[in-house]
């Protein structure tokens, strides 16, 4: 039996009005990878923030290496050998990689000034160990999201901590980088470090973890050995009931009716000669690595970015789209990837967020038809089963899945024929995921055509009629339903043809 490294027992954390953690137990052994699993809002991140000194616990105790510890701030957590890779990327955008890795613990020269040379050299060493091919003096904002995520990982590992918490470390990584991360984790295990691994990607848990602890609504549900459990058991522990199936899809008869056709779309340095058609009542998946230009294509179609050349046809009519309102007028709706930055008005209530694109339907000069707005908001809250106490609730108080549904509602209210969804289930828990799939299925049945960008291959394969695989700004291949599998998609996504 390996040694106990960390023991968190009966942890309670209250926020004004809510119990975020209701007496949670968690333990970690040396050389173990222990997963924390649960829907969004289950309290996983909160528990780890208590361990990392971001939050201070209200009740309970933390024991590290058989010694009871009190962690009141970030530095005390570090002293006790805890380092955390946070879910959101927390790097300073205008500082260099080296400056970020050593932020708060810069090496000093004898005269008290920062020792730049040592700092750059050591940072470069870390980067080279990971074979990232980056210069330590590069400014963070010049990196891709995936690269930034790798820097977060390097930063956490560089502390030589006993306990490393990884909160969704792979959410924006490509397969190659995920492989690197897993190799690093194996290395850390050999060095007897303990790793807490938080992820929504089930297959990763089975690949890398030893034990899995499930949380729900701030409570401890149970701990299982990874090799003695399966997907269904975990999901039912997470949602508290059996989820009969995740994906729901009714395929429609092919009519061959084109609702959208894009010809020779190019934007210098971003997308290059993109051609595709979208047929009525289908879901066209868009797959590809991060940075392949998927969102960029959609932003051109929706009038957010200008394109250099190309033509867009809606139905059989050639259209000019210069601003988003041109696209909306043609029945196109776009639910963006980053719902917090590009989508929601977080500090505004649910009804405000739902009705913002249909104001012209109920505001005439000075006359506001409040009852129409209320009816619309309530309709979507009901139809999409948005879990909110009422329509006046501030959106930032909702869980990720419900926020996403609010954003869906906004665009459904515009009654689109063509719905573009950019990573519709990113950062959304299993329960909400399955609901979103079922909403998509209903829409398709009603004759709406959907373009779905997704980095999750199972999602692409199970939900799409066809999938367009992009590589370096071009569509490499469009695969039909019967040709779709993970290997084929990855093959084209990495430039094969």
């Amino acid at each position: 039996m390996s040694e106990q490294l960390l023991e968190m027992s009966k942890i309670v954390k209250k926020f004004p009005g809510v119990y975020a953690l209701k007496g949670v137990d968690f333990s970690l052994k040396k050389g173990e990878v222990h997963a924390l699993l649960g829907e969004n809002g289950a309290g996983k991140s909160t528990l780890m923030k208590v361990l990392g000194g971001i939050y201070v616990l209200d009740e309970g105790s933390i024991t590290i290496n058989n010694k009871k510890v009190h962690i009141n701030n970030v530095n005390e957590a570090k002293k006790n050998g805890v380092s955390i890779i946070h879910q959101e990327i927390v790097l300073v955008p205008y500082l260099t990689i080296a400056e970020n890795i050593f932020l708060g613990r810069e090496p000093l020269k004898k005269n008290g000034f920062i020792d730049m040379d040592t700092m750059s050299r050591q940072a470069q060493q870390f980067i080279d160990d990971f074979d990232l091919g980056l210069n330590a003096k590069t400014i963070i904002s010049d990196l891709t999201v995936a690269q930034q995520q790798m820097i977060e990982i390097i930063k956490a590992v560089s502390f030589n901590s006993d306990i490393i918490v990884m909160d969704e470390p792979t959410s924006s990584l490509t397969d190659k980088e995920v492989n690197f991360l897993f190799k690093t984790i194996q290395q850390l295990k050999k060095q007897k470090a303990g790793i807490v691994y938080i992820s929504h990607r089930m297959n990763e848990l089975f690949e890398i973890t030893d034990r899995i602890t499930v949380m729900r609504d701030g409570e401890y549900i149970g701990t299982v050995n990874t090799n003695e459990t399966n997907n269904n058991e975990l999901i039912s522990m997470m949602v508290g009931r059996d989820l009969d199936k995740l994906y729901e899809r009714t395929y429609m008869e092919k009519t061959g009716e084109k609702v959208l056709e894009v010809k020779n779309l190019s934007r210098k340095g971003v997308i290059d000669d993109v051609n595709f058609t979208l047929e009525k009542g289908e879901i066209l998946g868009f797959s590809g690595l991060v940075g392949a230009g998927r969102s960029e294509v959609m932003k051109c179609i929706f009038g957010i970015d200008a394109f250099d050349s190309g033509e867009i046809y809606v139905g059989n009519e050639k259209v000019t789209i210069k601003v988003p309102n041109d696209a909306i007028a043609k029945g196109i709706a776009y639910v963006p990837e980053n719902r917090k930055e590009e989508g929601l008005f977080l500090i505004k209530p649910v009804d405000y967020n739902i009705s913002i694109k249909i104001l012209n339907e109920f505001i005439k000069l000075f006359k506001v038809d409040k009852s129409y707005e209320d009816a619309q908001s309530e309709k979507y809250i009901r139809e999409l089963a948005i879990k909110t106490p009422n329509k006046e609730q501030i959106v930032s108080n909702l869980s990720g899945g419900n926020q996403q549904k609010v954003l869906f509602s906004r665009w459904l209210a515009t009654k689109p024929n063509i719905l573009i969804l950019d990573e519709p289930t990113r950062g959304v828990d299993v329960g909400a995921k399955s609901e979103i799939y079922s909403i998509m299925n209903e829409l398709v049945k009603e004759g709406v055509s959907i373009i779905m960008i997704s980095s999750e291959l199972p999602e692409i394969i199970n939900m799409s009629d066809r999938v367009a695989v992009m590589y370096k700004g071009s569509i490499q291949k469009v695969l039909e339903k019967e040709d779709m599998n993970q290997e084929k998609i990855m093959y084209y996504a990495t430039g094969g043809n």
Binding site: N75, L91, V92, P93, R105, E106
Partner: protein, 328 residues
């Protein structure tokens, strides 16, 4: 042998300095060109501009603004703003001169206490900004009024005269051809440069302004960083207040009116981002010089002070727009 290694090390340092200068020129290319063009234009229109005497004058006139702008750069880099510095000039000037003229304090002690008064206002700004969620714009807007009011209250609204040459020399003295004010400026510039580029404190200011969440997660003491920057800003305003009052033989409750806005203009012209996280002291120096050269030049060309405001406003807009455009 040891001689040889000494020389190679020396080369290394020169090489490093050369690189640093090149880097500086490259980073500030846009506004440097602007400054040079401005100087050429003015010296063609009026050859008196390029005399040593006048150039020293420009430096001297610019130095007060630079005192403020140096510290303002730090405050803006960490994501704040300090509107109170103009009023702090008045209150420190009045306090210092009153201590000498009314209370009979020795000059050195009055100067020290005067500067301390400035630091106290700055520390108050820093403390409130670090411990509450009141935006710094509002905090310093409040202290701007409080400090200005205090200057009027303690002086009863009248200038406080100090007819003492050993006080006056603090503001009007020269070392060789170089005004004392410029000497102080060089010292403060070196200190500020070292803080921003060589110390943890400086690095942490960039971190707090660039992403305060990341700063917090890295265990940086954000309160300490804020407290320092605002206190330093109060200190520099205190220095400006003392120097100005010494130069004018009097503490004036109206001194430093709108000086904070000139300082902010210099910072922004120098390429520092108003949203924090990005900027350089070196850029601010050029920004302040542009403002200084502009008003000196317009004076030489006989443009009325009414029109000077209009010209200054247009130059700020055009320069910042050109800079943003270039970086895009």
């Amino acid at each position: 042998m040891s001689n040889l290694s000494y020389e190679t090390k020396n080369d290394h340092i020169f090489l490093k300095m050369g690189n640093a200068v090149l880097q500086y020129l490259k980073e500030n290319k846009g506004i440097l060109i602007g400054l040079v063009v401005l100087c050429i234009f003015i010296s063609i229109m009026n050859p008196d501009f390029l005399t040593t005497n006048n150039l020293m004058n420009v430096l001297r006139q610019t130095s007060t603004n630079m005192y403020l702008a140096i510290a303002m750069t730090m405050v803006i880099i960490l994501g704040g703003i300090d509107l109170s510095v103009g009023s702090i000039i008045a209150v420190t000037g009045v306090a210092t001169t009153m201590l000498i003229a009314v209370a009979g304090f020795p000059i050195w002690l009055a100067v020290v206490i005067g500067i301390l008064v400035g630091m106290l206002f700055g520390a108050f700004n820093g403390y409130v900004s670090a411990t509450t969620i009141i935006p710094p714009f509002i905090i310093t807007l409040a202290t701007m009024n409080i400090a200005r009011g205090a200057a009027y209250v303690i002086s009863d609204g009248k200038p406080v005269r100090v007819m003492d040459d050993s006080f006056n020399v603090i503001g009007s003295g020269y070392i060789g051809p170089v005004p004392m004010q410029v000497i102080y400026l060089i010292v403060f510039l070196i200190i500020a440069y070292l803080i921003m580029n060589k110390t943890r404190l400086g690095r942490h200011m960039y971190a707090v302004g660039g992403n305060s969440e990341a700063a917090k997660f890295s265990g940086i003491n954000i309160k300490k960083v804020k407290l320092f920057a605002y206190t330093f800003s109060g200190f520099m305003a205190g220095v400006a207040g003392v120097v100005l009052s010494a130069r004018m033989f009097s503490g004036q409750p109206t001194a430093g009116d709108m000086a904070e806005l000139d300082a902010i203009a210099a910072v922004v012209l120098g390429g520092t981002s108003m949203t924090g996280g990005r900027g350089k002291i070196g850029g601010t120096v050029i920004g302040a010089l542009i403002i200084g050269v502009l008003s000196n030049g317009l004076n030489l060309l006989g443009v009325s002070s009414f029109w000077q405001y209009v010209v200054k406003g247009v130059v700020i807009l055009v320069a910042v727009y050109a800079d943003v455009f270039r970086k895009k």
